[in-house]
Structure formats: structure tokens, C-alpha cells
């Protein structure tokens, strides 16, 4: 599974595809205080990104992939 859902944190791994977005959305709706760990993520489909953005989720760990991190920071760092 590209996303591992823990108690209050979702861990993204490798490439997270479009199929995961629905589940992620459902999960985040149930857990409004959840955080995400993107450290092991190398790419994620924008469908997932939209969900993360809409949920204004807190990023606990940014991706190790610096390129991805730079991109995501433009979208997920609010304020």
C-alpha cells in the first residue's frame, strides 16, 4: 500500500497513485487532526494533493526528495 494509515498519521510511500485519493479523503474526514508523513514519498498524484490541500493537513515530515519537497511546499505551506 502506498499509503499506510496509522492512528493519527498517514504515511506516504514511493509513488502514490490516483486510486488512493478516495480512501485518503474518507480517512481525513474522519480524522480532522491527522498529520501526514511524506518523507518516503517520491511522487503523488495531484488528486491526493488536492485532498491534502483541502484538508489543510499538517505535514509532519516533508519528502526526502528535495524536488518534490520544493513543489509541495508551494502548495501545502499555508501562510
Amino acid at each position: 500500500m502506498p499509503i499506510v494509515f496509522k492512528k493519527n498519521q498517514a504515511m506516504f510511500r514511493d509513488v502514490v497513485g490516483v486510486e488512493e485519493a478516495e480512501e485518503l479523503l474518507g480517512w481525513l474526514q474522519k480524522k480532522p487532526t491527522a498529520t501526514v508523513d511524506l518523507s518516503a514519498c517520491s511522487h503523488l498524484h495531484p488528486a491526493n494533493l488536492q485532498v491534502l490541500m483541502a484538508a489543510k493537513v499538517t505535514v509532519a515530515d516533508w519528502p526526502k526528495d528535495s524536488d518534490l519537497r520544493a513543489w509541495l511546499e508551494t502548495a501545502l505551506k499555508i501562510g
Binding site: 495531484p46 485532498v51 490541500m53
Partner: protein
């Protein structure tokens, strides 16, 4: 060039000629529905074919044309002169692209803009085009009209991209790149909201943009609350800064030119932040200050070469002193350096070298030149490593090495085509293009047909010789002559048979010719649809006549596209139904007696007979009574009726209700039959049966009421003689029991409206010809059977063409005409 591409081009040219002709005819008769239909099919086929290759520019224009014609065909808009003009231009553009492909095997990326402009112009003609209600792929284009056509190029600074929002570090780096003479583009990429469904990953696309310097994701003004968020509707935008050339960017985004806006960046835009952000542009300012005495701008490779040249000259100057050729050596070194500075456009350096040379010559040693070299090299190294030179970028006095930058300065948005209409470039290749000598000899189909007809006639006239021999013997009593005629006949017979065989051989082609295009087609389409599909090809070596094989190409394409689009499910659905995620499409060809059987089997969701019935009823193809009676199997076969499509919406691939109709028409034209079997949830199998060759048809000659008729052997099951006593009357119908099966009997005389009764033979037995028609076996009562012969069947023409009871006629060896029965229609 692959054979497939060659085939495509030759077909495309043919189709284009067809569309041109039809468009011209339509202008004279705009109400002609058949013309519109034919035109629509031509464009439909052309679009489908172009989809096999990566020619999005072509497909886009054709798709727009098709949409337009679809509206005209559906009566939603009237045909107009303007429409013709626009369509003709679109077709000319397609023709131009074909020519380009022919010479270079690909389409230049710069065509994308023209293509988008043409497609846009076509869509503008659609009723209500200004709103975002254009069908299919049109949505993106029409909603983003302003993006595709931003302010005219003449405006000095069109809406500048928000460059100041780029972080300082990235901007400084970009400025340096820009200063180095590299082009820099701002890309605004707005994916369509439906793009996820097309299997796109816009984020990935953005990340992989060539020459990417910086990029960010722009969220929409307000994201909906989580509960209302539609995950699969893309709301993001991307803004990028790329150092790639415009061509590279256009090439990379060639499939989405309507979603991408490219703006050339001028260096000073990077220096002067617009808007109120109070950032410190020191880096850039310092750079411009330092540039006062800097060297003119050099591309990196040039700079490296220049330093190599300078270093070589230094080595020469350091060589041991040989006073004899010292002067020559100095002059040569100076000459090289002067030339080098001329190339880089450094006129002060030239003068300095000249004076240094004069000094060196008087002193007869290299020191003055070396001193100059030291100073120059220092300048060079600071130049390549250090800050760029702003003055040379901004000033117009810059040498012509950077045409890109200068052009883009005056036209920040050059990809924006001028407003659709009269100003745009014309593609009128018909009018004034040069004649290209054909590379291969293409023989007109008609000529081959003629050859085939001639050999057919020869066979017929050869068959007249035995009659002649008989007459010589019976009527004139010259036995000797009769024998000689027969001997001659034997020879001619052998030769014509061989000749016919040879011509047939020439025309024989293996099925692989049509099959070979499918692996690619299936792969591309399945990727587009997000489906996993495995294509299995069987019996590719099966051979058939060229006409047959060629006629097969279009129907097969439609069938396979339909299977991909409507038949096979997406992997998730398949898994949920306990099928393997990968769907299988099998295309199988086999020869059976004198027919070729082709099966296309998919293991998709099958055709729902109820849905077809309902749709057919809605469209008025069947009436209420039929709706009740019709069997599921018959219902499924209704998909071949014109104008029926069960798909909910029109896609790039199918769903216009034209495909299956085309399939049936095309196959029946070559005397083939097509049948579909389908189990809901299990899959669909479409069986096409075709004659091996169209030229010679095997018929059985039968006699009835003193006349001879031909019955195609495809329909003949067997011939039997049945005693009159074995014929039973069930109500009004006759029937007999044959090997435990009840076979309905009908007298051919009655069917043809002849009053005579079937004749029985001496033992009071009736001749029964068992035929297969419409899937049933039926006995035809005839008077007698004759031989089976190969004939060249000619379609009936003139007033006779209305007689559906006959499929055609043929000339017999004795000069008489044989009428060939159309069994399906007769019974």
C-alpha cells in the same frame, strides 16, 4: 517509414480527396443527407486512423471537424458557406501535415498552435460555442478562449506573469540563465478538470517539464470543504519557469496546447519586481553595474572554445625563441586573436591586439602580446564563472547571436496565434503547391479490377468452346473438327486457369497486413482509457484477396475500438467481478473452405440485449410488436443497425452510433456476413465471414419451371430427393422430416411468383435444395439440379437493381444469362 505509416498516408490522401470532393458537392446541394453522412464517415475514419500515430495536431483538427459535421448530420445546425471554408481549410491543414509527415516522418511541434487555432475556429461555428457547452474534448478549449488567445503581440507588456512571487534564489538563478543568452519561459499550465479520467497526472507532467527552473502549484481561489471535495476533478494549476526552447516546450506539451500558456521572459522582468513586494533585487543590480566593461555575451560552449584558443596562443608565445621565424609567429598569433575577437564582436580587443603586435614586432619578442593575453584571460574567466551581463541583454545594440531573445522582447506571446479568421496562415496547398513525383508506383484499384474482370470474361468465353465442339459434331457432323476444338480447349483451359491463379496470387495478401496495426492501436487506446488489455492475434498468415483484406481494415478498427471503449471494463470493475484485471481481446483469422473467418472476441461486459432493444425502440428502429417478440440474440445483432449506440456519451473513440453500422455496410459490400454473440458479463464475440476472393463466386445451378438459377454455394447445405409421400402439410405450410429433424419446405416457384408446380422425377421424388438463410435451414423445392460452376457475378444495374430477389447475374459459357438468387431475400 513503416508500412503502417505509408498505408496511413496513402489512405489519408485518398480520404482527403474524398472530403474535398464531398465538400464541393455539398456546397451545391447542402440538403443532401447522404453526402453529409459520407463526409462525416470520411472524417470519422480519418480521425480514427490518425489516432494510431502520435499526431495530436492532426487528430485535434479532425475531431473538431467531426463534431461540427456530427451537428450538421444531426440537424442541429445548418450547412453554410462559412462551414465549407473552414472545413476546407482544416482539411488542407491536414493535407499539409500529411505532406510534412511524408517528408520528415513527424509533425513539427510548431504546428500545435495552428492546430489549436483551427480547431478553435471550427468550434466557434458550433451553435452556442461561446459558452462552455461544446461537446467532448471541446470543453477545455472553449472555456479557456482567453488563455489560448491572449492579448495581441503588439501590446508592449501584456499581463505579466507574477514573477515577483518567485523566491529570490530561484529568480537570481533564472536571471543568470537569461543573461547567458538562454531563453526563459513562463508556463501557465491549467489542466482540464476531467484530466484525471483521461489517465493524466498533471503534476507529473509539470515536474517533468524540460528545462524546469522553478515551479509551483496554484490552488484555486477557494478549495471546497473536505466533505464536498470531488477528488477526481482537477482544480489545481501549475506555474513553471523553464529554460528550454520554445520548440522543446511546445513539443512536450503538444497534446495539451490548449491548457498551456507560454510567455517568453525578458531578463529585466526578473530584475524589476512588479507589484508591491519589497524584495531586494541587489544581486541583479550589482550584476548590471559590473557589466559596464564586460565582454559581450557568449554562450558557454563559445566561451570555452575562446579560452582554448587563447590558451593555445599563449603556448605558442611561450615557445623557445627562434628569431628566424619569430616575426611570423607573432603575426600569426595576433591574427588568430584578432579573428577570434571579430567573431565575438569585441572591437576594442582588436585594436589592443594590433597595438600589442606592433610593440611585440619592434621588440621582437612576445611579451606585449602575453601581457594582453593575461589581462584578457582574466576577463574571460570572470565572465564565465561570474555574474551575467545585463547591459547586453537589455540593449538593442547586442550582436545578432541572440535572435531568440530579441524576437521575444517584441513579441512576448508569439505562440498566440492571431485571431481565428482571415489573418491566420493559409494552408492552401491545392492551389499553388509544387508537383511531387511519386516515390512508388501506385496502381489504381480500377485497373486491377479491370484485369480481374478481363480474366473472368476470358474464363467465360473459354467455356463457350465445348458448346462449339458439340455443335460442330451434332449440327455439322464434322467429328474431326470437334475433336480438334476440344484439344485446343484443353490447352486454353489450362492456360486461363493458371492465369487466373496467377492474378489471384498477386492479389492475395495475408491478414497480418490489417492485423499489424492493432497492437499499437490497442496499446494506445487502452492507456488512454486506463484499461489493461492484452491483444492476442491468431492466424495472421491466413490469406485472402487484396480487396477483401483492405475492406476489412475499417470494420475491424471500429470493432476493436468499440470493444476497448464499451466492452472491456476498467481494472477495478473487472477485479470486483472476479475477472483478471487484464482484459483480453483475441483476433483470430482462419480459412474455412472458400471463406475467411475472422473473429474478434473480448472478455468484457458484453452487450446488454435489453438496453439495445430499448434504444432501438427509442430510435424507431423496431416497433412495439417487434420489441416483444425479438430474441436476445437478434436484439444483440441490432447493434449493426444504423444510428444505434448504447454508449452514454460521445468520446474520442466511439459512441456516435456510426461504427457498427459502418462495419455491417462495409462487410456486406464484399459479400461477407457479420454476427455478434454476447453474454452479459462474459464478453462479446463478433464473427465475420468473408469470401476468399470477390472475383469468382461458386454457385450451384438449379432448374425450376424451365429456367436456370444460380444459388451461391455459401448457402447450399445439401441436395436431396424426397418422395412426395414424405411431404407433410402443417396448416398451410409444407414440411418434411429429414434425419429426425423437421425441415420446412417452400417451392421456389411460389417464392418467385411462378404458377407452375414443382416437377417430380420418374420415381415421384421431388428435388429439395437445403439452404441456410438467416441462421435457419430450409428446403427449397426445385425441378432439378445442374452442375456447380465458378462465375463472375455482376450486380444488377438500371431498373433491375431494384429486384432484391437476385443478387446479380452472370454470363454462362453458352452465352445465356444466369440469374443468381439472393437466398436471404427470397425465403
Amino acid at each position: 517509414m513503416t508500412p503502417l505509416l505509408e498505408q496511413f498516408l496513402s489512405e489519408a490522401h485518398e480520404l482527403l480527396d474524398g472530403t474535398d470532393k464531398k465538400l464541393m458537392q455539398l456546397e451545391k446541394a447542402p440538403e443532401d443527407e447522404t453526402l453529409i453522412n459520407e463526409l462525416f464517415r470520411l472524417v470519422h475514419t480519418l480521425k480514427g486512423n490518425s489516432g494510431l500515430f502520435t499526431f495530436p495536431e492532426m487528430t485535434r483538427v479532425l475531431h473538431a471537424s467531426e463534431d461540427l459535421l456530427g451537428m450538421v448530420r444531426g440537424g442541429q445546425m445548418a450547412y453554410s458557406r462559412k462551414l465549407t471554408d473552414q472545413l476546407l481549410e482544416a482539411m488542407d491543414f491536414v493535407g499539409l501535415l500529411c505532406d510534412e509527415i511524408e517528408s520528415t516522418e513527424h509533425i513539427d511541434a510548431s504546428r500545435a498552435a495552428d492546430s489549436a487555432r483551427l480547431a478553435e475556429a471550427l468550434r466557434m461555428l458550433l451553435p452556442g460555442s461561446k459558452a462552455a457547452d461544446a461537446p467532448g474534448a471541446g470543453t477545455a478549449i472553449s472555456t479557456d478562449v482567453n488563455k489560448v488567445h491572449p492579448a495581441p503581440a503588439a501590446t508592449p507588456t501584456p499581463d505579466l506573469p507574477p514573477l515577483f512571487e518567485i523566491p529570490e534564489a530561484a529568480r537570481a538563478e533564472a536571471f543568470r540563465q537569461c543573461g547567458n543568452g538562454e531563453s526563459l519561459y513562463w508556463i501557465d499550465y491549467t489542466p482540464t478538470p476531467q484530466c484525471f479520467f483521461q489517465g493524466d497526472d498533471p503534476f507529473y507532467t509539470a515536474r517533468r517539464t524540460p528545462g524546469l527552473q522553478w515551479g509551483r502549484i496554484v490552488p484555486p481561489e477557494a478549495l471546497p470543504p473536505l466533505a464536498e471535495l470531488d477528488t477526481y476533478r482537477c482544480v489545481l494549476r501549475f506555474q513553471l519557469l523553464s529554460a528550454a526552447s520554445r520548440e522543446e516546450i511546445a513539443e512536450y506539451y503538444r497534446y495539451l496546447p490548449d491548457q498551456v500558456r507560454t510567455i517568453a521572459i525578458q531578463p529585466q522582468w526578473l530584475v524589476t519586481p512588479q507589484g508591491g513586494l519589497n524584495e531586494d533585487p541587489t544581486g541583479a543590480v550589482k550584476a548590471s553595474a559590473r557589466s559596464a566593461d564586460a565582454l559581450p555575451q557568449l554562450a558557454e560552449e563559445d566561451a570555452a572554445e575562446l579560452s582554448a584558443i587563447v590558451a593555445a596562443q599563449r603556448q605558442i608565445l611561450m615557445l623557445d625563441d627562434h628569431s628566424a621565424w619569430r616575426a611570423g609567429q607573432l603575426k600569426s598569433v595576433a591574427g588568430v586573436l584578432i579573428n577570434a575577437s571579430k567573431v565575438v564582436g569585441d572591437s576594442t580587443a582588436q585594436k589592443q591586439i594590433e597595438s600589442a603586435l606592433a610593440q611585440a614586432l619592434t621588440q621582437s619578442q612576445g611579451a606585449p602580446l602575453l601581457t594582453w593575453l593575461d589581462a584578457y584571460e582574466k576577463k574571460l574567466s570572470s565572465k564565465t564563472a561570474g555574474q551575467p551581463d545585463v547591459s547586453s541583454c537589455c540593449n538593442e545594440c547586442e550582436p545578432e547571436r541572440k535572435p531568440d531573445a530579441r524576437r521575444s522582447a517584441s513579441a512576448p506571446e508569439e505562440s498566440s496565434a492571431k485571431a481565428a479568421g482571415d489573418d491566420g496562415p493559409k494552408f492552401g496547398r491545392r492551389a499553388e503547391d509544387a508537383f511531387n513525383a511519386p516515390k512508388s508506383l501506385k496502381v489504381d484499384q480500377a485497373k486491377i479490377d479491370r484485369l480481374m474482370n478481363l480474366i473472368g470474361e476470358m474464363i467465360v468465353s473459354k467455356n463457350a468452346l465445348p458448346y462449339l465442339a458439340q455443335r460442330a459434331e451434332v449440327q455439322f457432323g464434322v467429328r474431326e473438327l470437334s475433336r480438334e476444338i476440344k484439344a485446343q480447349y484443353a490447352i486454353i483451359n489450362r492456360i486461363t486457369d493458371e492465369m487466373q491463379d496467377a492474378i489471384m496470387q498477386v492479389r492475395m495478401m495475408s491478414v497480418s497486413f490489417v492485423f499489424q496495426r492493432f497492437p499499437r492501436l490497442v496499446r494506445d487506446i487502452s492507456h488512454k482509457l486506463g484499461k489493461e488489455v492484452q491483444l492476442v492475434l491468431e492466424g495472421e498468415e491466413t490469406q485472402a484477396d487484396k480487396n477483401i483484406i483492405e475492406a476489412l481494415a475499417d470494420p475491424l478498427m471500429h470493432i476493436v475500438r468499440n470493444s476497448l471503449d464499451h466492452g472491456l471494463e476498467i481494472p477495478e470493475v473487472r477485479r470486483a467481478q472476479g475477472k483478471s484485471a487484464t482484459g483480453v481481446i483475441t483476433m483470430r483469422a482462419a480459412q474455412e473452405a472458400d471463406r475467411v473467418l475472422i473473429e474478434i472476441i473480448d472478455d468484457g461486459k458484453g452487450v446488454d440485449p435489453a438496453a439495445v432493444k430499448r434504444k432501438a425502440y427509442e430510435k424507431g428502429l423496431i416497433d412495439e410488436a417487434k420489441l416483444e417478440q425479438i430474441s436476445d440474440r437478434e436484439a444483440v445483432n441490432l447493434i449493426f443497425a444504423a444510428g444505434l449506440s448504447t454508449a452514454e456519451k460521445v468520446t474520442d473513440l466511439s459512441g456516435r452510433g456510426v461504427g457498427m453500422d459502418v462495419v455491417r455496410t462495409a462487410i456486406e459490400k464484399i459479400n461477407g456476413t457479420v454476427q455478434v454473440d454476447s453474454t452479459v458479463g462474459k464478453g462479446t464475440s463478433i464473427r465475420i465471414s468473408l469470401p476468399l476472393s470477390m472475383a469468382v463466386t461458386q454457385v450451384m445451378v438449379i432448374e425450376s419451371d424451365g429456367q436456370q438459377f444460380g444459388v451461391p454455394m455459401d448457402h447450399v447445405v445439401e441436395t436431396v430427393r424426397i418422395p412426395r409421400s414424405a411431404i407433410h402439410l402443417i396448416k398451410q405450410s409444407q414440411a418434411t422430416v429429414l434425419r429426425g429433424r423437421i425441415v420446412p419446405l417452400k417451392a421456389l416457384n411460389t417464392l418467385l411468383g411462378l404458377s407452375a408446380e414443382p416437377k417430380a422425377n420418374a420415381d415421384d421424388e421431388l428435388a429439395v435444395l437445403l439452404v441456410q438463410a438467416n441462421g435457419e435451414i430450409l428446403g427449397l423445392l426445385v425441378d432439378g439440379f445442374r452442375e456447380t460452376i465458378g462465375i463472375i457475378q455482376k450486380p444488377l444495374s438500371g431498373v433491375l437493381s431494384g429486384l432484391s430477389a437476385y443478387s446479380g447475374s452472370a454470363l454462362m459459357g453458352d452465352g445465356s444469362v444466369l440469374m443468381v438468387l439472393n437466398i436471404k431475400e427470397v425465403v
